[in-house]
Amino acid sequence: MLKTESITLNLGPQHPSTHGVFRIKVELDGEAVRDLEPVMGYLHRGIEKISEDRTYVQVVPLTDRLDYICAMTNNQAYAMAVEKMAGIKVPERAEYIRVIMAEFTRIINHLLAVGFLWNELGAYFTPLLYCYRERERILDLFEKTCGSRLTCNYIRPGGVSLDLPEGFIPEAKKLTSHLKTFTDELNTMLTKNEIFISRTVDVGILPADLAINSSITGPMLRASGVPYDIRKVDNYSIYDRFDFDVPTCDHGDVWDRYYQHILEIYQSIRILEQALDTIPDGKVMGRRASRSLRRPPKDEAYGRIESPKGELGFYVVGDGSKNPYRLRIRPPSMINLSALKEMCEGQKIQDLIVILGSVNIVLGEVDR
């Protein structure tokens, strides 16, 4: 009888396919994963604590640095929590701008999720750079609107900081129809690829009941067949005015999680088309916003949105002073990682990388 023993392998923290500084302690039996333990905290910056001695507006640049791919949706979630706490009304045009920016951000995130997944499968940079090119065009629009590409600092409690620049709407319309063409092309190029299918179908299956019990949200949950989308459930902002579907896949493997992203890009494009057609004129900042933030009430509120990665929530506790007494962030990336062990057990080590890629984490948000 051959005597064998399992080995413990540290994947990361400086591993290129862990999307940043993330360590997985894997126990291996040959090539098969027997046990695994995610280790996080390498990018911890104490954002929740720093927020406590900044004013409500000064926290907005910090939220840019959570999920640095989707700064706009982070801003929006924080702004919604503060608005709920201080009772600030948002003008209609600002709501439309928020929806437009959030959906563009969703497209960016989903394109990168697809691109990085393919990178980890060994399609060295070709699909990723196509996705990056389209992201660049969206970032150009962001830069034109708010002055910065990644750390937008645009959506504020009470509205948005600046009105849309001249020529934004026609340019965005052109880009939206272009993105539709591009997504079609991406779909043709990637979805039915046999090598891709053999690497991803039946890999890392996440059953719906486990997904719900692990409190997983976003595209990952919907890929497991649960049609739960906070845009539909809460109808926050003005999402009840737009006609869009919540697509789902049914199997919950890596391929489904990939295809879920493609399907959601199409829905975002649908929302964008409607929002860009119907955006009204008007103010973009609530009249009483800055005054109510100078004397905010002693209250607390939880604001949540469907960020591209799942439910992003901010819990703000105010004690009547200019600073939040406590700010708690519910990061979707981190909670989506909680089922990683169950998904990877019994799989091969090369599939572990693919499964981690399909979870689509951003470490800035995992560690905060």
Binding site: P61, G147, S148, T151, N153, P165, N193, E194
Partner: protein
Amino acid sequence: MYFQGLAKGLSVTLKHFIQSYTGKTGIEDGERITEPSLGGMFTVEYPDEKLPMYPRFRGALMHLRDPETGEANCTACGLCITACPQDCLTVEGDDGKGKDRRAEAFTYGLSECIFCGLCVEACNFEAIEMSSDYELSSSEREIVWDLERLLAQGDKYDRRQSGEDEEK
């Protein structure tokens, strides 16, 4: 056929390879091409070519002058200092009162600045703006800029003089 999907995918790649020589994208005559297209060379060969910055771009801070007197607009009111989340600004005013007050000294910690633009939004006197300067590395130790340096930055990047001013 088994490799149909793969062949289809590679045909897209081939199409892009050909289109990258026929299509048009990136920059032309110093202007960004805003028309999105799938072809063309998207890469901009920085530092030989540079993208023009949008008017709202948030680069290093600059101080603006009054066009008539040539003095700094800053009245040392201190609004930007309270707005800054990083505490990277300081100001000292002279003995004047109200609008006649002028800034005597102003420091800007470039290495601490996160380019959020909150100071510019707080300013009521059009005294500070974000310039479009993003090439901020230096071989000298100038990580804290004084008023003189900020005004020089303003002279170089003030958009009002070049006629590209944009209403707020």
